[in-house]
């Protein structure tokens, strides 16, 4: 549950990038950190990546995905990071307002001194690889199948063909084999493996699952459920070679054809995106083109290893904490000037306390009602009078000017806000 309406750092997404960002923000001085996660639990996609191999580079451990996530979840919670689960962020504004919904709180309207975008990535789909044929049940992205098999406990098919030799595809080939399904073939359109060699060895070779390079699916067959796919060999320009077609009977086609950074929210926040990576343009602190909005992990570009996502998250979280701290200090430093009795408005709206240390600050205002008698124009901090000036009369058509003298610096430094009033003398 969100306990505040304003946070130092809000992290959107709780995969490895988001968790690391939240932890690092907290460790680097952010006062309150909130993670917003759309799923029922923290951890993001790691919760369904039950295979080992996480943490080899940085932690020097060989962990399954959920264990890797759990380490960071535990750390984040121990540090007091707040979380909002089962919550979808609908909108992020360039001024860092966040609009989200969930069943428990309804509509949430939050502000943040800094935001870390950590929405991860999504899988490329059938349309993006232009896979023609019928549209039966049984065509899934590898990640969707992975969720069913590993988390929800259902098998999406019995005989599989996997398109794409990316890591998720190969890992799913082994996983499905473990659970009693038959993986007929892994097809890869490129002339080389697109995932890691170690996954080829321990996922495909170990279980005699055939891999065909330079092959793709020409079309999908089957009206209600997939009945087969037609594979075909391609030449160096990826054009199908006539006569190499083969019908492979199967009931499921899994697509492991690449990942794309997930940046719907980034667009809404006005973040500029690099057309090549599909992620935000970032500086060395992972700050996007919108000040105060940072991004971490696969939302920026798709990483090979979770370790590097974590590292990116740590850096983004640290940067966000530093930004939030500057924002907070600036908020403390800048006093709001509020129009009080018979004052319509005051310019400036805010005063930098420190500017009083070096000189006077001139305030200008207009009154609401004319008073044709002597008045005081007063500046107060709460009940306390800071300065005042007499005027013989005030009229809305005539601007009133008042100087906040440098000598009130010490009193103003203690103030949280100043109000202006025009009262009878």
């Amino acid at each position: 549950m969100a306990r505040k309406s304003k946070y130092d750092v809000v992290v959107i997404g709780s995969g490895p990038g988001g968790l690391a960002a939240a932890i690092s923000a907290k460790k680097n001085g952010a006062e309150d950190v909130l993670i917003i996660e759309r799923d029922l639990e923290l951890g993001g996609i790691l919760q369904q990546c039950i295979h080992n191999g996480f943490g080899l580079e940085v932690l020097k451990k060989d962990l399954p995905g959920p264990a890797y996530a759990q380490l960071y979840i535990n750390e984040a919670l121990a540090l007091g990071v707040e979380t909002l689960l089962d919550t979808m962020v609908l909108d992020v504004s360039p001024r860092r307002r966040i609009y989200a919904t969930n069943k428990r709180d309804g509509v949430l309207d939050l502000e943040a001194h800094a935001i870390v975008l950590a929405m991860g990535c999504r899988e490329r789909t059938r349309a993006q690889v232009r896979l023609p044929g019928t549209r039966p049940a049984g065509v899934y992205t590898a990640g969707t199948a992975q969720r069913w098999v590993n988390v929800e406990g259902y098998m999406p098919g019995k005989r599989f063909v996997i398109l794409g030799s990316g890591d998720i595809g190969m890992i799913m080939a082994r996983r499905l084999t473990f659970e009693g399904a038959k993986v007929e073939r892994v097809l890869e359109v490129m002339p080389f493996l697109t995932g890691l060699m170690r996954n080829y060895v321990q996922c495909l070779m170990d279980y005699d699952i055939p891999l065909q390079l330079r092959h793709t699916v020409k079309r999908i067959l089957g009206k209600d459920r997939v009945e087969a796919v037609e594979s075909v060999q391609v030449d160096e320009h990826w054009n199908p070679i006539a006569g190499t077609e083969e019908i492979i009977p199967c009931d499921t086609l899994l697509l492991s054809v690449g990942l794309i950074p997930e940046n719907e929210l980034s667009r809404k926040a006005g973040v500029s995106l690099d057309p090549i990576t599909g992620g935000p343009f970032v500086n060395n602190e992972f700050q996007t083109s919108v000040p105060g909005i940072f991004s971490a992990g696969n939302v920026v570009h798709v990483y090979d290893l979770v370790d590097w996502v974590t590292e990116a998250g740590l850096l983004a979280g640290k940067s966000a904490a530093a930004f939030a701290q500057r924002e907070r200090e600036s908020e403390i430093r800048h006093l709001p000037l509020l129009p009080g009795e018979n004052v319509r408005y005051v310019i400036p709206h805010r005063v930098d306390k420190e500017s009083l240390a070096t000189g006077d600050v001139r305030l200008q205002m207009r009154v609401k009602q004319p008073i044709e008698a002597p008045v005081w124009v007063e500046v107060r901090s709460g009940e306390k009078l800071i300065t005042r000036k007499g005027e013989p009369y005030v009229r809305p058509g005539e601007m009133v000017t008042l100087v906040l003298p440098s000598k009130v610096y010490d009193e103003v430094r203690q103030a949280r806000e100043l109000s202006l009033a025009v009262v009878g003398r």
Partner: protein, 495 residues
């Protein structure tokens, strides 16, 4: 056996649903049945989503008459049934000098058909109205009465209003035969769910209308050759098309158009290929290539990288000759009550502009029944208004908050790309025409149609469908029998 129905309508596409709704106004017992697991699964849900102005059909044909008669009905219809409809107008765009000459003929044809408000605009004006257009545009024909709709929601809204007014609907029920009495009068319909007695049967079987009428011995020479139209859908986040842009039609087809859609994603297509199989709604690489080339001719900056979906629909392309003397045309609509057998309302060959024409066709069916002596007495309390269901993504923040306060399920977003909530999904499952499959939910809410194509929502929708219907996730299907998503529990390995 059951009490006889006054009218049984075979096929719940847009035409069958419009007929059901039109007849629901009268004191009749009506059954509408459909072989698929959901209504509107045929051409009604896979077309260009355009309400045509009416300049395209040959003057004198039933197609032209029905199109032009129906077009003005759509504003009122959309108001009553609460489906999205926008009268944006459409353009026939000429590229280069030769195509420009053909616009005059279309303008003349449109005027003869009685299409109001059409005129030609210059290439310069067209470039101004659609900045992405091919700079070689030489002019365009502007038809302000053209419109855009969501054809599937038209079908659903119409059927729901029919249900509100007492029509019974059965899905997953296929036509087998007519039951005739000794006097060659239809007294019932045999279906895969049993026999249903009736006084009138309406053939609204779309692609299969030839088979159905042949069962009654009507028009043995009539046949439908499915004409497949493939489409591609582009990502609205990447490209915006504001208009309906037809190319100049060739001798064989209307050509590949590029059009806005009410969901925002530009749509390109259709191809037009006659195929033998009425079930074959596959897309092909050749078709996509044809669309690509046609679309690039209209909008050179289109990029296939922004493709988010492909689909195809089958037009019920018939061979009925036009009955107007002197009009040489062999693909006209059939809207008739044949002399024999009695009791049949026969609709056939309703292809494009069938969606546009459907309200006029329904009206024509009412008139035919009256002419046949059917005493159509108005039903007291007939309600033409089909109440809308809230669409979270179309609401203001204040309205969203109010809706959530009433039902927190609207706060749980299931499809992030199209912003569809659990509340909306549950509402569709419990609607007058219940959505029972994933595709049924998808067509009604537009969930899973965004750039991720359902990768995130699919397991969740399967779970909600199972929970709401009290079935196992193993029984949830994509589009009816045989299209289950899941085959067994992970740990229950056979053998």
């Amino acid at each position: 056996m059951n009490d006889p129905y006054d009218v049984i309508i075979i096929g719940a596409g847009v035409v069958g649903c419009m007929v059901a709704r039109a007849l629901s106004r009268y004191q009749l017992r009506i059954l509408l049945f459909e072989k698929e697991a959901d209504i509107g699964m045929g051409a009604s849900s896979a077309n260009t989503a355009i309400v045509h102005a009416g300049y395209d059909p040959l003057p004198g044909t039933l197609k032209a008459r029905m199109n032009v008669a129906a077009n003005p009905m759509w504003d009122n219809l959309s108001g009553e049934l609460n489906f999205p409809f926008e009268r944006r107008g459409d353009y026939v765009v000429a590229i280069g000098p030769f195509e420009l000459l053909k616009l005059d003929r279309l303008l003349d044809q449109g005027r003869r058909n009685g299409v109001p408000g059409m005129h030609l605009i210059t290439g310069e004006e067209m470039r101004h109205r659609e900045p992405n257009i091919n700079p070689a545009v030489s002019g365009a024909l502007w038809a302000p009465t053209g419109g855009l709709c969501d054809p599937f929601m038209v079908t659903v809204a119409t059927a729901e209003n029919a249900v509100q007014n007492g029509v019974q609907v059965l899905t997953s029920t296929a036509f087998m035969d007519f039951i005739l009495d000794d006097h060659a009068r239809i007294i019932g319909v045999k279906t895969t769910r049993g026999d249903f007695p009736c006084r009138w049967a309406v053939n609204a079987a779309g692609l299969y209308s030839d088979d159905v009428m042949h069962r009654a011995g009507v028009r043995p020479e009539f046949s439908i050759t499915p004409r497949r139209g493939e489409y591609m859908v582009l990502d609205k986040a990447e490209i915006t098309i504001n208009n309906v842009l037809f190319p100049v039609p060739s001798e064989v087809s209307k050509g590949i158009l590029v059009t806005a859609s009410l969901h925002g994603n530009p749509l390109c297509g259709p191809t037009a290929n006659d195929i033998p199989d009425k079930d074959d709604r596959a897309t092909t690489s050749e078709g996509l290539e044809e669309i690509r080339q046609g679309a690039l001719k209209m909008i050179p900056s289109l990029n296939l990288r922004h493709l988010i979906a492909m689909f195809s629909g089958l037009r019920a392309n018939g061979n009925a000759p036009c009955e107007t003397p002197g009009v040489e045309y062999n693909h006209d609509f059939i809207i008739e009550i044949p002399a024999s057998p009695r009791g049949l309302v026969n609709l056939g060959g309703i292809e494009s502009p069938g969606l546009t024409a459907s309200p006029a066709i329904a009206q024509r069916v009412v008139e035919l029944l009256k002419d046949a002596g059917e005493p159509l007495r108005e039903k007291p309390g007939w309600d033409p208004i089909r109440p809308p269901r809230p669409r979270f993504c179309h609401l203001s923040r204040e309205e969203q908050a109010l809706l959530i306060a009433r039902d927190p399920r609207y706060a749980r977003v299931i499809c992030r790309c199209e912003l569809v909530t659990e509340g909306e999904i549950v509402a569709e499952i419990n609607a007058p025409i219940p959505a029972r499959t994933y595709d049924a939910i998808k067509r009604r809410t537009w969930l899973g149609t965004g750039r991720c194509l359902g990768g995130f929502d699919m397991p969740r929708v399967v779970e909600i469908l199972a929970r709401e219907q009290g079935i196992s996730p193993l029984e949830v299907t994509k589009k009816g029998e045989g299209s289950g998503f899941l085959v067994r529990k992970t740990k229950l390995v056979e053998g």
